[in-house]
C-alpha cells in the first residue's frame, strides 16, 4: 500500500473551560479525544456523527484553523501538527476546505471575481493569462456563468453560492479537500447537484476528500470509507459497503436505524432502535466506553475498560467489546436481550 496522503494519530483538542477573573482553568471540553485515521490518495473518507461529536473540530484541526492539544497530523509525509502559521502558508495550497454555510463563507462586500481570485492573491500565484481568466475558468468548471464575475454573493442562491465556494477551494489545485458539511445548508434538490459536482471534480482533478457530514445518505453516496464518531472518538471505521451492510458498533446500528425510510410498507417491518437519554457532556465524558450510558448491550466491562479501535474481519475497525454482525466473536457474547430493543 502506498503512503497515505494524510495520516492522523491520536489527535486531541481540549477547549479550556475558564472561570473567574483570573481565567483559572476549571476543566476542558474534550471535543476531539484521540482520533486516528488515514486518508489514501484519491479516496473519499466520510466522517459522520451527530452534532457536537467533534467532526467539525477534527476538520478544523487538520486544516490547522485550530491548534491541536495533542497527537500528530502528517500531510504528504510532513508533520504539520504544530507548524507555525507562516510556514503553514505554502502547505495550504495543497489542502483546502469547503465550508458548511454558503451564506457566511462568502464575504458579502466582495464580488465573485474577488472571492474566487483571493487564493491567487493571497498565495501570490501567477496565472498564465491573468487572474480574471483563471477565475472565469474556475466558474465554468463548477457550472456557473463566467459572466457572473462582477456580481455579489447576495445575488445568488444557496446552491450557486456553494459552487462559488467550491471554485475558490479549487483555485490552487489542492490535493486534499476537507469538506465540512458541504451540503447540509442546502435544499435537498440542490444537495444532489453539489454532491455530484464534487464527485465529477474528484475524477477530473484527482482530488482526495474528507467529507464531514451528519447525513448518512450523503456520506453513503460519496464515500469510499466511512468513519463514525461519537463524543470525540471514532467508534467504527470501515469500507462503505461493509459499514452500511453490516454495521458492528451499536451506535452505528442506531444511527442507521434512524435514517427515515420513504416506503411505508418497508418501514413497518424494520427494526428501530431508539436511543434513550442525551449525549453526555464532553466536559465530563463517561469513563471507558463512552457509549455505555446509552447502549442496550452495555455490560460491566464497558464501564471499566475502554474498547480499543481494533480491526475485525476484512479490515473493519470497531471500538466495542460486543460488536454486532461480528463473525469472529463468539455468538453468545454478541447477542443481546430482545426485550431491551424497542421494535415497531
Amino acid at each position: 500500500m502506498t503512503e497515505p496522503l494524510l495520516s492522523v494519530r491520536d489527535l486531541t483538542k481540549h477547549f479550556p473551560v475558564t472561570k473567574g477573573l483570573l481565567r483559572r482553568q476549571v476543566g476542558a471540553v474534550k471535543a476531539v479525544d484521540g482520533v486516528s485515521f488515514e486518508v489514501r490518495k484519491g479516496e473519499t473518507l466520510g466522517l459522520v456523527g451527530e452534532s457536537g461529536c467533534g467532526k467539525t473540530t477534527t476538520g478544523r484541526l487538520i486544516t490547522r484553523l485550530l491548534e491541536p492539544t495533542g497527537g500528530r497530523i502528517v500531510f504528504e509525509g510532513v508533520d504539520i501538527t504544530h507548524v507555525k502559521q507562516g510556514r503553514m502558508r505554502p502547505l495550504r495550497r495543497d489542502m483546502q476546505m469547503i465550508f458548511q454555510d454558503p451564506y457566511s463563507s462568502l464575504n458579502p462586500r466582495h464580488t465573485v471575481g474577488t472571492i474566487v481570485g483571493a487564493p491567487f492573491r493571497i498565495q501570490n500565484v501567477k496565472t498564465e493569462s491573468g487572474i480574471k481568466k483563471a477565475v472565469q475558468d474556475l466558474l465554468e468548471l463548477v457550472g456557473l456563468n463566467p459572466e457572473h464575475y462582477n456580481r455579489y454573493p447576495h445575488e445568488f442562491s444557496g446552491g450557486q453560492r456553494q459552487r462559488i465556494g467550491i471554485a475558490r477551494t479549487l483555485a490552487l489545485k489542492p490535493k486534499l479537500i476537507i469538506a465540512d458539511e458541504p451540503v447540509s445548508a442546502l435544499d435537498v434538490s440542490i444537495q444532489a447537484q453539489v454532491v455530484n459536482l464534487l464527485e465529477d471534480l474528484q475524477g477530473e482533478l484527482d482530488l482526495t476528500y474528507v467529507v464531514i457530514a451528519h447525513d448518512l445518505s450523503v456520506v453513503r453516496h460519496i464515500s469510499d470509507r466511512v468513519a463514525v464518531m461519537y463524543l470525540g472518538k471514532i467508534v467504527e471505521l470501515a469500507e462503505r459497503k461493509a459499514l452500511y451492510d453490516s454495521p458492528m458498533h451499536p451506535y452505528t446500528n442506531a444511527l442507521l436505524a434512524a435514517v427515515p425510510v420513504p416506503d411505508p410498507r418497508k418501514r413497518a417491518d424494520r427494526d428501530r432502535i431508539r436511543l434513550t437519554g442525551d449525549v453526555p457532556s464532553p466536559i465530563n465524558p463517561p469513563p471507558a466506553c463512552r457509549f455505555h450510558t446509552r447502549c442496550w448491550k452495555a455490560q460491566d466491562i464497558c464501564k471499566t475498560q475502554e474498547p480499543p479501535l481494533e480491526a475485525l474481519a476484512s479490515g473493519h475497525l470497531v471500538a466495542c467489546h460486543f460488536p454486532e454482525n461480528a463473525p469472529d466473536k463468539p455468538a453468545g457474547v454478541g447477542a443481546h436481550p430482545a426485550e431491551e430493543r424497542a421494535t415497531t
Binding site: I122, E147, R168, Q193, N196, R220
Partner: protein, 336 residues
C-alpha cells in the same frame, strides 16, 4: 436501507445556471450592497431632506469666507465689524424694529455692538462643522483601530482596551475640557489664539468620544470573525493584516458611517456647550454657542439674538440625526 435522497437521479444533472446562460449575453454588472443602500436611501424622503440640509450647510460653511466664495461679503457685512450707530444706547437693542431684520441684514443685528447676525451665523457654522468633523474623524480613527484590535485579537488585548474604554467613558469630560482650556498657554504646538483653541477642543472631543465607535466596531468584529469567510481566508493562508483590512474592515464601513453621522451632531452640541461656557473659541470669532451666551443678557430686548443661533444648532443637529437614521435603515446589515 433506502436513502431518503436519490443522489444518482438524472434530475440532479439539471443546471439552474443554464437558464441564466442565455441572459448573460450582455455583460453582467452586479449591484454592490452600497448601490442597494443608495437606492433604498433615495426612497427615504426624510433622510434625503436631512442630507440636503447637511450638504447645504457644508457648502455654506465652506463658501462663507474668501478665498472659496465669500457668501458673507455677498449678503452682509463683515461678521466682526461693529455697527454702533444702529444700536439704541439705552436698551442696547437694535434701533430698527424686529431686531434690525432688513434686506441689508437678513437676520438682524446683534445687541450692544450691532454686528450682522447673518454673517456671524455663517462664520459660526464654519467653526461648528470644522470642530465636529475633525473631532469625529479623530474618534473614528482611534475607535476603529482600538475596536478592531480588541474584537479581532481578543484575550488580554481585548481586556486592556475594554477597560480603557470604560475609563474614558467614566471621565468627567466637560470638567476636564473647562480645566484644560482654562489652564492652556496662549501658544503651543506652533499654534496660537483661536487656532490653538480649536485644536485643543478637537482633540478633547475626539480623544474622549472614540469609545462609542470602538464599542460598536468591537462588537461587529467579534461577530464578523466568527463568520466562515474569515476562516476561508485563513485556510487560504491569509495573514491577520489581510483579514483585518480586506475581509473585516469592508464590512465595518456601514456601521462606522452610520455612527459617525450620529456622532457629528453630538460633537456640534458639545462644541456649542463649550463655547456657551466660555471655553470654546474666543471673541471676536463667532460661534453658535458663544452667540447664545451673549444673548442670555438681552433675551427680553432682543429675543431674535437667542432664537437664531438656537435654531441654527437645532436645524443642523436635526438634519444630521435624520440623515444618520436614514443611513442606518438603508445600510441595515440584517437586510442583506
Amino acid at each position: 436501507m433506502t436513502a431518503p435522497l436519490d443522489v444518482t437521479g438524472t434530475a440532479a444533472e439539471a443546471q439552474p445556471e443554464a437558464v441564466l446562460q442565455g441572459v448573460g449575453a450582455k455583460a453582467i454588472q452586479g449591484r454592490s450592497l452600497g448601490q442597494i443602500a443608495w437606492t433604498r436611501l433615495k426612497r427615504d424622503k426624510v433622510a434625503i431632506a436631512g442630507a440636503v440640509i447637511v450638504v447645504l450647510l457644508v457648502l455654506v460653511a465652506a463658501l462663507a469666507e474668501r478665498p472659496f466664495g465669500g457668501l458673507i461679503a455677498l449678503f452682509g457685512d463683515d461678521p466682526n465689524v461693529p455697527n454702533q450707530d444702529a444700536i439704541d444706547p439705552l436698551t442696547s437693542a437694535p434701533l430698527a424694529p424686529w431686531g434690525g431684520i432688513s434686506l441689508e441684514h437678513p437676520l438682524g443685528l446683534e445687541p450692544v455692538n450691532g454686528r450682522d447676525i447673518f454673517a456671524r451665523i455663517l462664520s459660526g457654522a464654519q467653526i461648528s462643522l470644522l470642530v465636529a468633523f475633525l473631532a469625529t474623524l479623530l474618534s473614528v480613527i482611534i475607535g476603529t483601530l482600538m475596536g478592531v484590535l480588541a474584537g479581532y485579537f481578543g484575550g488580554w488585548i481585548d481586556t486592556i482596551i475594554s477597560r480603557l474604554m470604560d475609563m474614558f467613558l467614566a471621565f468627567p469630560l466637560l470638567l476636564f475640557a473647562i480645566a484644560i482650556v482654562g489652564a492652556m498657554p496662549d501658544r503651543a504646538f506652533g499654534l496660537s489664539g483661536n487656532g490653538l483653541r480649536i485644536g485643543v477642543i478637537v482633540f478633547i472631543i475626539g480623544f474622549f468620544s472614540w469609545p462609542y465607535i470602538a464599542r460598536i466596531v468591537r462588537g461587529q468584529t467579534l461577530s464578523l470573525k466568527e463568520r466562515e469567510f474569515v476562516d476561508a481566508a485563513r485556510s487560504l493562508g491569509a495573514t491577520n493584516g489581510h483579514i483585518i483590512f480586506k475581509e473585516v474592515l469592508p464590512n465595518l464601513v456601514a456601521p462606522i458611517l452610520v455612527y459617525s453621522t450620529l456622532l457629528i451632531p453630538t460633537n456640534i452640541l458639545f462644541e456649542a456647550a463649550l463655547s456657551f461656557l466660555g471655553v470654546g473659541v474666543a471673541e471676536p470669532q463667532a460661534s453658535w454657542g458663544g452667540m447664545l451666551t451673549r444673548a442670555v443678557d438681552y433675551y427680553q430686548s432682543a429675543p431674535h439674538f437667542m432664537i437664531i443661533p438656537g435654531l441654527a444648532i437645532f436645524i443642523t443637529v436635526m438634519a444630521f440625526n435624520l440623515l444618520g437614521d436614514g443611513l442606518r435603515d438603508a445600510l441595515d446589515p440584517r437586510n442583506r
